[in-house]
Amino acid sequence: MGYTLKMRLWRGDQSGGDLQDYDVEVETGEVVLDAIHRVQATQAGDLAVRWNCKAGKCGSCSAEINGKPRLMCMSRLSDYPETETITVTPMRTFPVIRDLVTDVSYNYEKAKELPYVELPPRDADGKRRMMQEDVERGQEFRKCIECFLCQNTCHVVRDHEENKKAFAGPRFFLRYAELDMHPLDTLDRRETTREQAGLGMCNITKCCTEVCPEGIHITDNAIIPMKERVVDKTYDPLVWLGNKIGIRNKDRDSRTEV
């Protein structure tokens, strides 16, 4: 049942590196991460790779497999012909630390810049009430496992390092959308989404949605609705006039702007 898989793995660090060839025994039913672990245990004890759950739940083992951004634990060997060489390289958008591990601190820095949820007091009985259909919109976005494949594949940052400063990226547009759609949240973050997070720089190519291992409709369900709401508020002449002369925007009338 087993066979010898040919792999090419990127080995190196900040100072440089190259693709190295490995032949490794694999079994039916294994995934790319299993093969990498076997290389590590038998041929290259110092091969650096991030992983935790091996079940597609933690988003640690992101890499590019034959050039496609994927989770190594969710990439079955049976999806590739046995004769094919599988090439694994680190995510391209983030600086390499070593081998397949990249420095994803950009994402953690962006997370610190985000505004947080602000809810009104609980009901008189100490509980909160929200309806299932209302929480489901936000729940889709909260499925995000922070694998950062969307950030990696977003060409606003992939090819333009200088954009990172002004652009939060798809993972965090999800977060803005989730807060915006929270049934009880009291803040209006449309200005911050536009100015601080750089939502306008996204030109909706849907690359992020294509690589999301959780199947979240990042573009259609989060980014486009957010863009529409920002546009309505900022550029719709009637809404603008209404705000100017003191007739408040009916959209989320009770929300406080941040």
Partner: protein, 614 residues
Amino acid sequence: MTTTSETPSVPDSDVEKHQYDVVVIGAGGSGLRAAIAAHEAGARVALVCKSLLGKAHTVMAEGGAAAALGNLWPDDSWQVHFRDTMRGGKMLNNWRMAQLHAQEAPERVLELEDWGALFDRTKDGLISQRDFGGHRYARLAHVGDRTGLEMIRTLQQRAVQLGVEVFMECTITDLLKDGDRVSGAFGYWRETGRFITFDAPSIVLATGGIGKSFKVTSNSWEYTGDGHAMALRAGAKLINMEFVQFHPTGMVWPPSVKGLLVTESVRGDGGILKNSEGKRFMFDYIPEFFKSETADTEEEADRWYEDKKNNRRPPELLPRDEVARAINSEIKAGRGSEHGGVYLDIASRRTPEFIRKRLPSMYHQFKELADVDITVEAMEIGPTCHYVMGGVEVDADTELSGVEGLYAVGECSGGMHGSNRLGGNSLSDLLVFGRRAGESAAAYVAGLGAARPAVSDDDLAAARSFALKPFDPASGDNENPYKVQQDLQQTMNDLVGIIRTRAELESSLAEIEKLKVRAAHLKVEGQREYNPGWHLALDLHNMLLVSECIAKAALEREESRGGHTREDHPGFNEEWGTKNIVLSINSAGDGVDLATQPLPVMPDELAAFFEEGH
């Protein structure tokens, strides 16, 4: 390649130094909750974790957090939850922990909602609650079957919002002491291999479990028993280490996913267990202890999902230890599935829409990894090492260990779950005791004034030199850490697994001694920068010490109870039901000593819950 840049002879000037009031080791649910509590109490807090923030094992928890909110069943209360927990643990739980847990869990869950968690709802808009084994009422607050992700994300976002300082991909290898008191912690940055020291009078261990010592496990690579072993070496005691929970339902096929968890929610939502003959076999395994509360016909069991008041619960929802043993017996009797498990069937009992809605993550997991559509076919499952009930002995109210300044919480602490943990009680345990530990740790520092303990340079040098040894081994040292780990995992699986015997446990201890010798001769290749072989070499020492604790305690306890089954001593032994096994580091520091001590005595008003008729 050999190491060129760093050897033990280089002076200590490369050790990065930090000063904090409270250092929390581990950033899963309990560590995050402890860090938040300590921060809110005014302490300067560092949160240190081996992985990136948000990747801890908590992220994999599926089912939910048990809390008697009473949203679906108004009769539910902390008293019923307390009783279920004690009975699930076969009365070996620390009663005070079980009480605090049941009383405080609801508020801890509601607090998550205040911080942005979006739980599934009841039709009235309240937090939904789901059925799990051993719980009399549907009690688990959940988000589909990805509750752990929701919890860790909520806590992570809260901690970031508060400005808690996080040291990611940073491993602590040793606790430091000044006399009898904790003075700090020593470790290294995984990225650079550089050493780091925390000068801190309060340390909260929130390092999780020990599952990576077993071959078939649902646990992540991080579960190497670091907190357990570091606490032992610092002079704290471990209790109940023989009680290791084998979750009844892990995936068994394909090999790459063997051990991966299949949530108990599958059974909570109507899934049943069948053997290769198609028989629903759990009715054959109802123990005397649970007979009065378990349905003995399929009809009654099926009615229970809709009417919990007038029916008893299905035997598939017995506590985990009972179900795991039953599955093991069926497989042993030759009635197992094609790949050595049994069948878990929800496809024939619920609509595809229901399954996809309630169990989206399970649907996805089987579809992607096993090519099985669980809305159409049964799953093949078998027991997998999941949780350790044993851990650092702590004071129930404060989570203080026997060492001044050292706290332990979550899976790395012991006592709360007795001999067996009920599903859903872990996520709530993390919240309840995480908060308590954080508050206690901060209060202790506030009370110290200027009398802070100091980190000694000698201790630093010793920790440093131990950590670097695998790069500069004695001549002839050539053990591969991956190979030693694999051999340990095989030993624990074969000899200290779900069913144990005296002979097997004795040989496991002999094997562990041999592995300890091999672990003293490890050699790693490459340099200090992000080197997993080196990281494993250091973690291995913790895994071996903890494995010895488990095997030794399992050999001593001559009865079967909860997560500990002795084939040569079946059934409860009343005398063993009155005491805990306590382990401490031996005088040479290279193994453990064992003793027993009586259980804390439950006050009469709580004991009354367990009298006849209740």
